[in-house]
Symmetry: C2
Subunit: 414 residues, 2 copies
């Protein structure tokens, strides 16, 4: 099966001065891969006729050229006339594009400007592809057997059009090679230790499968993916290899879904009809923040006491001042009392607590920057653990948050 050659041209001065990061190209690369296609290259250029014409010329060896950007109501002035020049055509009024603009403005209750009206002028020889997400048109043109597709640069519009309109057309026109992936979420083990544990398995993988390590704060996502003309063989091989992988590292896997750990905890608690609350010192409310991003999280999450100032640990969470004095605020005794305190205060099944030194200052010999105590209180009692999450403040906060959810998850499933 012949692989088709796909290139992306990203147009926009804002991409060259670093005002905007080109997330569109990465998104296209990912979604093409998952649909069984491969992106060969990405060429990012500014809003100038010369740069655009050179880029078009450089893509004449491709089968399909996906052009993003350069179609807003201002950049329009350069891109569309340049397209006409390259395709040897001229602009003409497109009724379907105009109707789309009218209905869009009507829906939003805005008045249409002359400049917007001009957005309905399209190259004569193009196929108009509807954009229900915004005012920029989407166009499909061909030259010497090369298909050029022009999409707006606004990510939300580009993604919508590509998914709704373009990908189906591309699949119809070109032959894809079946693709499948599996994601395995791990935590509690660093990337290099993970490599050691699974490298023999990885080396023995069939050619058409590949493994990617995607480390994030305190966890490593493993992505096993492959392409094969025989979709069934691909699927079965993935099943088999994932089973082997799970055997090797089962104690570090918190989900076989590509989702953050707080969602796994949310689903677990929700299925059991149980609740939790947090008492946060060094994580500063981040445990609460990440769970409350999930719609409906109020079913399992009842509240948080961020006791950033030490006296508040006594006042709000009933940690005896004497204990803080005796053991220090970053200690096993204090974190366990905080966890129990918030469990009682918020009347929940699980109380999760953190206390530590996020840095960059505040470290001591006994508790250097990065030291974090995490505790989880439940009907079974309290468990706690001491960690060191390094010197970077944001890193400490994020890794402590993930470790707290992992400890909570273990208590729920125990």
């Amino acid at each position: 099966m012949k692989e088709i050659l796909i290139k992306n041209i990203s147009i926009g001065d804002e991409l060259l001065i670093g005002q905007v990061v080109n997330t569109n190209a990465a998104w296209l690369g990912e979604h093409l891969s998952e649909a069984g296609f491969q992106l060969d290259s990405i060429l990012t250029i500014g809003d100038s006729e010369n740069a655009i014409l050179n880029a078009f010329d450089a893509c004449m060896d491709a089968d399909l050229v996906l052009v993003t950007g350069g179609l807003g109501p201002t950049a329009d002035d350069i891109t569309k006339p340049t397209v006409c020049k390259f395709f040897d055509t001229e602009l003409e009024f497109c009724q379907a594009a105009y109707d789309n603009l009218v209905s869009l403005f009507k829906r939003r209750g805005f008045k249409m400007s002359e400049r917007n009206r001009g957005q309905a002028m399209l190259p004569k020889s193009c196929e108009y592809v509807p954009n229900t997400y915004g005012t920029a048109p989407c166009m499909w043109l061909e030259k010497n057997g090369v298909a050029f597709v022009f999409m707006p640069g606004v990510p939300f519009e580009m993604k919508g059009i590509f998914t709704d309109e373009l990908l189906p057309r591309i699949k119809e026109r070109f032959q894809a090679i079946p693709y499948e992936k599996r994601v395995i979420m791990t935590t509690g083990i660093g990337e290099s230790f993970l490599v050691d544990k699974i490298k023999d398995w990885e080396y023995a993988l069939p050619d058409f499968l590949s493994l990617a390590y995607l480390p994030q704060y305190g966890m490593v996502r493993l992505r096993l993916s492959g392409r094969h003309e025989d979709a069934r063989l691909l699927h079965e091989t993935l099943d088999r290899e994932v089973a082997k992988l799970v055997d090797l590292i089962s104690e570090y896997i918190f989900s076989m879904q590509d989702q953050p750990i707080e969602r796994t905890v949310f689903e677990l608690l929700n299925s059991k009809g149980m609740t939790f609350a947090s008492a946060e010192s060094c994580t500063g409310g981040n445990i609460a923040h990440v769970i409350t991003l999930i719609p409906g999280s109020s079913v399992v999450f009842k509240g948080t006491a961020v006791t950033y100032a030490t006296p508040m640990k006594t006042k709000v969470l009933s940690v005896p001042a004497e204990m803080i004095e005796r053991c220090g605020v970053v200690s096993q005794e204090v974190v366990e009392t905080m966890a129990t305190g918030v469990r009682n205060l918020m009347e929940v099944d699980f109380g999760v607590a953190t206390t530590g030194v996020a840095g960059p200052s505040g470290g001591t010999e006994e508790n250097p920057v990065g030291t974090v105590w995490i505790g989880v209180a439940s009907a079974k009692g309290v468990v706690s653990k001491r960690f060191n999450f390094g010197k970077d403040r944001e890193n400490v906060i994020n890794r402590a948050t993930i470790a707290a959810y992992e400890m909570l998850r273990q208590q729920i499933t125990d």
Copy 2:
């Protein structure tokens, strides 16, 4: 003055399948701009000899080609031999690169592998540029008057080498055109209304200045920047134009520094020796989270009660159950009582409270999704305001957080 032509080649399969977003190119674009240079184009390709040779050929019209990626201990196998082919040279052992590797491994306490040793083999004709950030070498080569610079793709290494080693060499070798920028942070006004207020001023700006609107949740950063051979003229013109701009929109400006609003609040409170705490319902701890990312924030921030479950508003913040029953949990009465409650509980100068409907469900006719009440209690009493932040949950949380800080800022400066 002749502008030099700079191109970037980004090498790496991971960029084409969307596993990694090319933030390096954006960073280079931004930092070249600020140093008075301009990036002409970015070409992203995979780890293959053919793609690399074609990309090199396509850059022979440039003065300077910045190549990122393709130099890790594995990708190495392709890039370096390809470089030798293109520059008609061969690999030889480089003592300086080897010494750098040895000292790096010594510092980290790791053993050097054979593969790492291979990283000291460099093209004969290259100038070796030290990389103190990692194992990949940085190389400078020339062909027919075009300078090719090879940098590692790991962002932290690339940024370090570029800043420490390369930018000084580039400045020495090529002529920059002076660049200067100013950032004005606004909140409480949408982008389109801002455009209306300042468009006459914007149209009258001299050619060499340009304005960028960079909207983020609930605020708009304005960046006025320019390039001019006469640095003093540029500086004075910026001074004059910024002064005019400030006159037009002073009530919306919260900072002339490029920083988030919580940092402005932190600096204000810190300078006055004052403190605050938050009582959060719909923002779910995000007010606490963003301030605690700032090192030293414990001086001004004392704590938070996230009372996600309604009964906790009564238990922790002393909001009468009768009031919640009578006025509803999303109401002026409740938010003001929460603000006062947390001010008393945490013994601070300012209490900030939020209650609202983050969505996507839970909206009513009276309080549709996106409705948020924000209150600030201080020695002068309580102020409160009702907002609607739209339908997207994350957006509601982020915008409510920024609006809360803006209300707090106004109370501090009042």
